[in-house]
Amino acid sequence: MSAKQALVPAVPGARDVPVLEIADLAVSYRGDTGFQPVVHGVSLQVRPGEIVALVGESGSGKTTTAQAVIGLLAENGRVDSGAIRLNGTDIAGWSQTRLDTVRGRRISLIPQDPTSSLNPVKTIGAQIAEVFRIHRQGSRDEIEKHVIDLLARVGLSQPELRARQYPHELSGGMRQRVLIAIAIALRPALIIADEPTSALDVTVQKRILDLIDGLREEFGTAVLLVTHDLGVAADRADRLVVLKGGRIQEQGTTDEILAAPRSEYTRKLLADAPSLAKAQTFPRTAGFRRSDGDPVVIVENLVQDFPVDHGPRKTFRAVDGVSFKVERGTTHAIVGESGSGKTTTARSIVGFQKPTSGRILVDGIDITSLRGEALRQFRRSIQLVYQNPFASLDPLQTIFRIVEEPLLNFDPVPREDRARKVHTIVERVGLPPSVLSRKPRALSGGQRQRVAIARALMLEPKVLVLDEAVSALDVTVQAQILALLDELQRDLGLTYLFISHDLAVVRQISDTVSVLQGGRQVDAGTVEDVFLRPGSPYTRELIAAIPGRRKADRRDVSPVFIGADS
């Protein structure tokens, strides 16, 4: 294999024919009122061995563009005009059958969601072998050998065992490696990676991106990376293409765009991306800090067991001895990856489940002893804002009724007072009064999250628990919601408990932080202490995995990937 040759750095112009050239592509979707254009005249090039990132928010047309390239547009989508040239051949008008001859062989896809992209009833080995069989490559024994080699190549331990396993036996990161193995099986010239790591934890994300990077350097494969995460794009891509509303805002080399963005929109994106903010600044601690040494939430030695169905009296310990204090008017963050027990901790604090042992004091009341009516009354002082604003609002109710509801649950308030209060709060969270008569589905994600915050504020709680409250939002919307939360905290003296997996966001808005791993608290303290002097190797790993910080030294990373299973 000519690995050495492929290692030649991908300098623009070094090779003549681009692997992929999109010229003036326009795509539209059929809706209720005819065809709705979503991509307008997008042109871009991907040269051999190059990573080009297609960056944009939801609805920017980035995924549609990628789907058009590989001929996998949704049924109601069509390419209106433009050319898609693969190594100089225009494939835009090709039929599905004809596209099958290049898909997998010359161009392949790493899908977004590793949990739903593998067939649950076939073994991993059979699913990888399928690629070879479709393209009639080699005998049965040869294919088997290829499969094992590929599994080893993408860094899975015990490849023979993995080939015999089913998707549900593998973790999310391992499944994403299997999908990468399928994508690189026939050494395509171009891989389209559609948000390949968005569903994964940060440390796993880093390993997967390292793997893609390593494969590119080894085989000289070009990668079209579709991502909403500017940090990831800045870290990994040679060139960036910024999309908004189906139009290219700006394209150029990553260094140029990061150093001197030309378009207004790119500047805004860069300013709003928490992971690209300067690591040294701690705006929270520099400015607002009004701790008067009065803890409003005290968690002592919290333990939470869950019964496991199989096995006699077996329990799973989700949270194991977590303790922290949150002072009035400050923000405490609970950070960890999936399965670390951060959401379980939050739900115990809000009173949705009884802890197995330990104490939780909110405003001096031990909530572990509360039940029935006392627990209901306690809910006035602490409110939860959910991660997914699409699921946390009743789809049948108007915004007015949703925001009004908490008031109806306690002492009767006259109708006019209720209406006045709803109007005040909705205005307070920055929504126009016109939304009150609408249903949630007529609102955007950011607007819905504002409604959820308004509802949580109706009872004038002392503590607001934000469970990944900004994780599902686009960066610019996320920045707006974070600004709103900050403003509300200053004005109303709220205390926040901020649950998040995103260290970049946590660094931006928290005063103190607890780091959880496998239910245990491995690190705690002020944000400066934890970020600048991490006390545990796990915290160090988490901080190192924040994307957008290693742009400068990326090229020094050895092409050998980390072999550990993710």
């Binding site: 789809p395 509801e405 908490p406 109706m458």
Partner: protein, 307 residues
Amino acid sequence: MTSMNTTGRSLLQNDAGVLEGSSRVFAAGHVGNLSGLQWLASLRGIKPGLVLAWSVIAIVVLWGLFPHWFTSYSGTVGVARQQLRAPSADHWLGTDALGRDLLARIIYGTSQSLSGAIVAVGVGLLVGTALGLVAGSARGKVESAVMRGVDVLLSIPQLLLSLSIVILLGFGTVNAAIAVGVTSIASFARLARSEVVRVRASDYVEAAFGSGGTFLRVLLRHILPNSLTSVIALAALQFGSAILAISTLGFLGYGAPPPTPEWGLLIAEGRNYIARAWWLTTAPGLVVILVVLSANRISRSFGKAGA
């Protein structure tokens, strides 16, 4: 019964699909003409199959409410020397052995069949949904008890169950309707329970509890309204099969006693003359089929709107 339902359903489905497909191709061919496009787009929103289904139901409802608007003949009294006439200008669907106009009998029989179906669906909807709501929201032992009872109901063949109930209650249209209704309790209960369990697990229900809502308030404010969409679709579907089931009971002689015109009874009476007067069984049979298919089509549109 069931197999007939599903066949009819898929037939209509195909029909609607073809129509939608053809209008889509048509629209794509006329991209240049903007006003034409808009006109076609507005036309595409209308589903001919669904319009037809609603008109069938509307006509049948009018028959049930105002039978005398549609026919000048009596539903029960025959005309002398007019026995077993074939369909003609005077008697559109012919006459039976006692000289009664068949169309009039069908029209006057509508109120029997329709009110029977409404009672049957009402019994199933109210009792079944209530059971499902209790089971789905209470959980634990209550749920187990209710759902095992429902399983028992499901395990008895529907016709056998409704026959047993009719025999216990005595013959008659209302009793037959109740008997048919009881057999549908189980499917309503199962559907309602699964919807309630789904809605109960949603974030907005938890948020409602979190903002201090009591169990009953959350149940009425969030769980019930959000569970109802699929239940309503099932009710429309059951309306069709209830008409069929009531006609079956009428056919077997457990429904309204003669000379009451009831669709199932009409088919049964006509059976004796099938060699000489085929229209006596065919016409009421076709009416039953049309109404059942229409109910299925409407139910499907509800299901889609809910999804």
